[in-house]
């Protein structure tokens, strides 16, 4: 008896807070889906707009916890810092691309390259930061991530000495800062 009495208001409260908690990811998913609908359809008929509203409502109703699992307000800060990270990454990609282009067109290609695998350990913990790190390494020409596991150990195939030395270094610092993880 007493247990059910205790559970009553608390269950209601958690239900209410759950509702508010799922409200923000729901609306974010809805805005994202509807924006994508407008961009991809490109027409503004009332029929198409209402179809888009209905379908994006259904999708965000069923899958609101798929895009933003365990949502916190930290997400916004990460988003802003990630946007600041993109220009640096783009500049790095361009620089390294010209390096690889030089290697490819060089007449004595096999003297210039020196492929080897390097292994290094990082302190990245969450899935999203490890994924970002691995994809950033692969996007920067001259290095490919061979494997990355949840302990933060990366194996990287580098095509020459210069691109191998650039790793873990500055990119790791940046990724660590973006996701707010201590070193």
């Amino acid at each position: 008896m007493t247990i059910s009495k205790d559970n009553g208001p608390e269950g209601k409260k958690s239900l209410l807070s759950n509702f508010f908690k799922s409200c923000i990811p729901f609306s974010l998913t809805f805005i994202l889906m509807f924006g994508l609908w407008i961009v991809l359809s490109g027409k503004f008929d009332p029929l198409l707009i209402s179809l888009g509203l209905i379908s994006s409502f259904l999708i965000s109703f069923f899958f609101y916890d798929l895009l933003f699992p365990d949502f916190t307000f930290n997400y916004f800060a990460i988003c802003i810092r990630f946007i600041q990270y993109i220009p640096w990454l783009l500049w790095e990609i361009i620089k390294a691309n010209f390096h690889l282009l030089f290697i490819v067109f060089h007449p004595r290609l096999k003297d210039l390259i020196d492929p080897h695998i390097i292994v290094f350990k990082t302190n990245l913990k969450t899935d999203i930061s490890i994924t970002t790190m691995a994809n950033s390494i692969t996007l920067t020409p001259g290095t490919i991530t061979v494997s990355a596991n949840s302990d933060g150990i990366f194996r990287v195939h580098a095509i020459d000495k210069a691109s191998a030395e650039a790793l873990p270094g500055k990119m790791l610092d940046k990724v660590t800062k973006v996701f707010g993880e201590e070193k």
Partner: protein
């Protein structure tokens, strides 16, 4: 505007050509993937930039939406290309293929 469009299109073309030649010239499986997976991403970025400048001749709602679509293409290529490259390398590693080194073939 035309000059910018031509410049970026030619840049993208050079990168794509470099990628294709790199695939032929590199010595082994893993190093072939370097130009294949990466010169293409910057190549497609430069080409889409050129197309955006080309379509900015007369600005309207349709142009804006097609520009956004092109940017979406770049976004998804930047997401999927490293993942695909990584999975190919992983498959090679699982099959037990050794990577080419300088000392062995000398």
């Amino acid at each position: 505007m035309d000059i910018l469009a031509i410049f970026f299109l030619v840049t993208g073309l050079i990168f794509f050509t470099g990628g294709a030649i790199g695939i032929i010239r590199m010595p082994d499986f893993y190093s072939r993937l370097h130009p294949a997976g990466k010169l293409d991403t910057l190549g497609i970025f430069a080409m889409v930039l050129g197309l955006i400048f080309y379509s900015l001749h007369h600005f309207s709602m349709d142009t804006l939406i097609s520009i956004l679509k092109m940017l979406l293409i770049v976004f998804f290529v930047f997401l999927s290309s490293p993942t695909a490259t990584h999975s190919i390398v992983d498959a090679g590693m699982r099959a037990g293929l050794r990577h080419w080194t300088k000392k062995k073939r000398r």
